[in-house]
């Protein structure tokens, strides 16, 4: 019973991690940008949710559209300032990693200067509540955030599968040149998917704000966790990210329950190294340079 309990808690967290990493893998798939600034966008969303809750008493779940809008605008500005300049260059992929690294440092510095590095968490009424099903208890905060994450990821999947723009995004991520040949406005698709990814980060941030306690410097830890999910899922595959997030966070919560909570994040990093050792290009991914 204890094991089932642990697995269910792990799954709930896993879907939140999956939502956090989805935007990242979307951006990588379409634009070949490894956005190290993604976790700090999540934090911006979390801060937006926190202040909406503290000042206006707004429920973080209903604040999701506002948080997503905040990070989407921030993402659009970042894109215009930083990434548009040399999208065609040879070493674009490596350059952008450092560029996003710098962006993350700038945003981290700004956030820590404005809000200081103290622990924060939003506390809507359901954050401390739990539902009992037999012997298994489900904290409502994690249940809600897990369910909303699944809903958002499924929504994104449907959008990518059926809408015209979604098909254009998938085509671009398969081959930039060929997408351009069949008349897709690749430039617009790139901006759109970057902004969409950032909006997803904001939505995830709003959910994160009542699941984890957060502070500006926390995003360095998330970078490694989210990146391990993206690498494991095969750089650019959304389904891969969801599956690897579910598996790894169940493993992490088992480690946390049976060994020690402090070692649980180790699972993600070790998984990343083992993955690089065994299959450098991911479980579900195609060969990418």
């Amino acid at each position: 019973m204890f094991i089932i309990q642990t697995i269910i808690l792990g799954l709930c967290l896993g879907f939140v991690y999956a939502l956090m990493a989805t935007g990242l893998t979307l951006i990588f798939g379409v634009m070949r940008i490894v956005n190290l600034a993604h976790p700090i966008f999540i934090l911006v969303g979390a801060f937006a949710a926190y202040y909406l809750f503290v000042i206006f008493g707004m429920d973080p779940i209903f604040a999701i559209p506002l948080c997503a809008a905040t990070t989407a605008i921030l993402g659009a500005i970042t894109y215009k300032l930083v990434f548009e300049k040399d999208a065609g260059s040879q070493t674009y992929s490596e350059m952008t990693v450092l560029l996003t690294f710098g962006t993350a440092m700038v945003l981290d510095g700004t956030l820590s200067y404005l809000f200081k590095n103290t622990q924060r968490i939003t506390s809507p009424p359901y954050a401390t509540d739990a539902i009992f099903i037999g012997d298994i208890f489900l904290p409502t905060a994690q249940l809600y955030s897990g369910l909303i994450s699944i809903a958002l990821i499924v929504g994104l999947g449907l959008f990518l599968k059926f809408s015209k723009l979604g098909i254009a995004i998938r085509a671009t991520s398969l081959s930039r040149v060929n997408a351009e040949l069949v008349g897709i406005d690749v430039k617009f698709v790139c901006i759109f998917s970057f902004v969409l990814g950032c909006a997803l980060a904001g939505a995830a941030g709003s959910l994160v704000s009542f699941v984890f306690s957060f502070f500006p410097a926390k995003h360095w830890e998330w970078i490694a966790i989210l990146m391990s999910l993206v690498v494991l899922g095969g750089m650019g595959s959304i389904l891969g990210v969801v599956i690897s997030a579910a598996i790894l966070s169940v493993m992490a919560s088992l480690v946390g329950a049976f060994i020690a909570p402090a070692w649980s994040t180790m699972v993600f990093f070790v998984a990343l190294f083992v993955m690089l050792l065994v299959k450098p290009h991911g479980m579900f991914g195609k060969y990418l340079e």
Binding site: L99, F101, A104, L272, P280
Partner: protein, 322 residues
């Protein structure tokens, strides 16, 4: 004598005798802080020059190189307490330990290139942070405390000054040597195209891993001296991403894949950092400006100062070492 050697050799002689002004406080005043800044610059030069071997020539950009700094510092700190000797005697041991660790890490992470490699280097810091925070043998999160050296205050920085100076000279020489050797040629070929280099008869894996070990060895040595200088070794001092970010920024600012780039970048960055510190204080704004500088450099001078000047043919001869 080659005219371009005059300025570097003069600088070296001045640097060798500079700390002696501490013997004449009545003339020069107490210059301990200047000495601190200079040894700090040498310390970063060791890191940037050795980073340049794998990052600049090899094209493997690691933002987790302070992991090896930490390993070196912990080896020197732990054994100096256990055996009761100064970490200065353990510099080689620390370097070799970091090199062995680097060998195994390199075997794993050098299999991938580009973004995946950068991510794995971040993950390396995170793993070590978790391990060292909980490893009771080396003091857990509070780390190891080392004794102060017995010199009086005015002269207490002398061993570290000369230690770092010597290490910086060796590392810069190594950097120059790699740039002009067959080994470095192979390394630069690998950074352009691994498969073609392998076809041309280069033992890609051997070259990559050797370069990585070489670069981690010197960083480990620097860690030993830095541990003695700080008199404590603690995970939250050595295993923060800002150190690695500074190293990467310095090299890019100066010019990746050049011999003098890391030196120029280090001096300019430390001067810039001092300006920010003296005008704005040690706040989080420091992080903001470091990031801003990184973004601006990457967007407008991706070749760095030395690289840009060289492309324009305006590089002063004393900086032109390849």
């Amino acid at each position: 004598m080659d005219s371009r050697k005059i300025i570097p050799i003069t600088t070296l002689v001045i640097l060798l005798f500079f700390p002696l002004i501490q013997f004449f406080p009545s003339v020069f005043g107490d210059q301990n802080y200047v000495i601190h800044l200079m040894l700090y610059a040498f310390y970063y030069m060791v890191m940037t020059s050795s980073w340049n071997i794998i990052g600049g020539y090899g094209g493997f950009i690691s933002v987790g190189h302070n992991a090896f700094l930490c390993i070196g510092a912990y080896i020197a700190g732990y054994y100096s307490i256990m055996w009761g000797v100064s970490p200065f005697y353990l510099i080689l041991l620390a370097g070799i330990g970091a090199g062995i660790f680097g060998f195994f890490v390199g075997l794993i992470t050098l299999r991938v290139k580009g973004p995946s490699f950068i991510i794995s280097s971040i993950a390396l810091i995170m793993i070590l942070r978790i391990i060292f925070d909980r490893w009771e043998l080396v003091g857990g999160a509070s780390g190891i405390t080392l004794p102060y050296n017995s010199l009086s205050v005015e002269f207490s920085k002398f061993p570290h000054y000369y230690g770092f100076l010597a290490l910086a000279i060796i590392t810069i020489y190594m950097n120059w040597y790699v740039r002009h050797s067959k080994f470095g040629l192979a390394l630069r070929a690998i950074s352009h195209d691994e498969i073609r280099s392998a076809v041309a008869g280069i033992n890609v894996k051997y070259i990559k891993v050797t370069a990585f070990v070489l670069s981690t060895f010197f960083i480990g040595c620097a860690g030993a001296i830095w541990a003695d200088y700080l008199t404590y070794v603690r995970p939250n001092i050595f295993l923060i991403i800002l150190i690695a970010a500074n190293v990467v920024l310095m090299v890019i600012l100066g010019g990746m894949g050049t011999v003098t780039g890391p030196i120029v970048g280090t001096i300019i960055f430390i001067a810039f950092n001092e300006l920010i510190l003296s005008y704005l204080g040690a706040t989080e704004l420091n992080l903001l400006f470091t990031g801003l500088l990184l973004v601006i450099t990457l967007l407008y001078f991706p070749n760095g100062i030395v690289g840009t000047l060289k492309n324009k043919g305006k590089l002063p001869r004393f900086l032109d070492w390849g």
